[in-house]
Symmetry: C2
Subunit: 310 residues, 2 copies
């Protein structure tokens, strides 16, 4: 078997829409598009993921075309394909996709004929372009097992926006039906007017109450323009979380703790203690303000994304 050279981005000579002539996955590997013949994720924790295959391997996938909720790797019985264990981020494929998320690496998406999706090819495989990993989280399935999921959006599509927290309406417009996401451009400037204004107000309010001090570490990032902080949603905005854009669902955090919170490095108890998810230790309580009530339902939602028994 030839050496696989991991390239990030499109492979010269294999444009979007390319399908292996014989319909075999080995051809994807030969072309340098995807490293493996069975595993869905091509990549390593160290390098990141360069490609994924959607081919019906995990029933929790939700393929909406330009937007994909992709299920991570692991926990299946190799012969029956039944879920028999939880997935985790120690799995090198899952860790690779997190790396691609954090480093904004482009991920090639290949759809196979077995994927139960209107966007899948009738036969064989098809390279469907470059996607970006927006975020990840854990979902508890009905059978109790936990799978890691990744929100991926096609690069250059209307879903590929600078601040994924900003245009939540393009994500939430269609929460009724998974397959109804329009494929054409979505005019974000028209639909987000009221939300942009409400967002500006709520963000200003939460930062003012905490005078830009991080509710976790108590520090502020001092810039020449003044002290700076970020408004972090507890139950994330947009598909599939659809958290509301209200102050009860927002924390005032520094960028470091924002990154940690959004990626499950810490979570909150109902009493607003800060728990380090890496060692389970309870740290300083969350800094609070009497006029800033935090919704327990949002805290529980976030916790369920990151710990099995919330």
């Amino acid at each position: 078997m030839s050496t696989y050279i991991r390239i990030f981005g499109e492979i010269p000579g294999y444009p979007e829409g390319w399908a292996p002539p014989t319909g075999k996955r080995a051809e994807l590997r030969e072309a340098g598009i995807h490293a493996h013949n069975v595993a869905g994720i091509s990549g390593t924790a160290d390098e990141g993921a360069d490609a994924i295959v959607l081919n019906g391997g995990y029933p929790d996938d939700d393929d909406r075309g330009l937007l994909i909720i992709y299920t991570g790797h692991g926990g299946q019985d190799s012969s029956t394909k039944k879920q028999i264990a939880d997935q985790d981020l120690k799995d090198s494929g899952n860790a690779a996709l997190v790396k691609s998320q954090l480093d904004s690496l482009p991920v090639r998406v290949i759809r196979g004929y077995k994927e139960k999706s209107p966007h899948a090819p009738a036969k064989g495989y098809r390279y469907d372009g470059l996607y970006r990993v927006v975020r990840h989280w854990f979902k508890t399935r009905n059978d109790g097992f936990r799978v890691c999921q990744f929100l991926m959006v096609k690069i250059d599509s209307p879903y590929d926006v600078p601040d994924p927290d900003y245009p939540d309406d393009i994500f939430t417009e269609d929460n009724s039906s998974a397959s109804q996401v329009p494929v054409g451009p979505v005019r974000r400037t028209k639909t987000t007017v009221n939300k942009a204004n409400r967002r500006a107000t709520v963000v200003k309010e939460v930062k003012a109450l905490h005078t830009n001090l991080c509710q976790v570490c108590g520090n502020t990032v001092e810039l020449p323009s003044g002290p700076s902080s970020q408004a972090a949603h507890i139950q994330a905005l947009g598909v599939p979380h659809n958290g509301p854009d209200v102050i009860e669902n927002i924390l005032c955090l520094c960028p470091n703790d924002h990154l940690r919170f959004d990626n499950g490095a810490f979570y909150l108890t109902d009493n607003l203690e800060v728990v380090n998810a890496l060692d389970g230790k309870i740290g300083r309580p969350l800094r609070t303000h009497p006029e800033h009530k935090i919704g327990t339902e949002y805290v529980r939602y976030h916790r369920a994304c990151w710990v099995k028994v919330p």
Copy 2:
């Protein structure tokens, strides 16, 4: 004069392309589009900027249509309009635009007939849609005075991308001629292939050499997927800085120090001391690695963006 209610985003009833019938700025105010009759920036340091007018007030403006380099406010003699002093971020208009940058607020752009730009209307004013502030810096003019500049891109345009450091080719393709930026969509996925791959390699390299420890504070952001850091370009990528994507132009930073560095809260001396720009104090020296040479030319370029005598 009626009260101006500051709204972020499009004003209902005043779509993109709308022009005041009498061609007067007072009508913009009446419509709630822009607060002032003379000043270019509508906004406050506390709330952010909701709108700007480009109307030839500052010769350093560079209007490329979907991408604008906008000059901040201040330092002009009120009668002669000659630059007689430096601009700074204490000016409430400039601070408002920084706030809009940090909070990703949409900014309405109005072009006036006096702007020397192929995109300006022949007469009167025209509302030209929502833009995002990507970054700001200081430019030293030929007369020695410093002006604050803001890179703004039209929301939903090909220039409006999640990671402004990522698709630098769409910014750098036309560094020869300011007015040649195409107005139609730019196919980023095709043009960025090689850069995406080179970026992945150089980012991986710098993070590995520093084992994800921030070169300023020495900390790493621990996530469930592993330690995390960011690759920060010293001379920024893209218009108008066009820094190269090489390891000599990159620092390994935590998100907090990345934010500080990109917004001029600290800079480096030629000896790689870390200087706090807010009080001028020299802190701990930059953490270095013998295999990670840092280019003095990039350090000097960054410094010139933030301090008058670098």
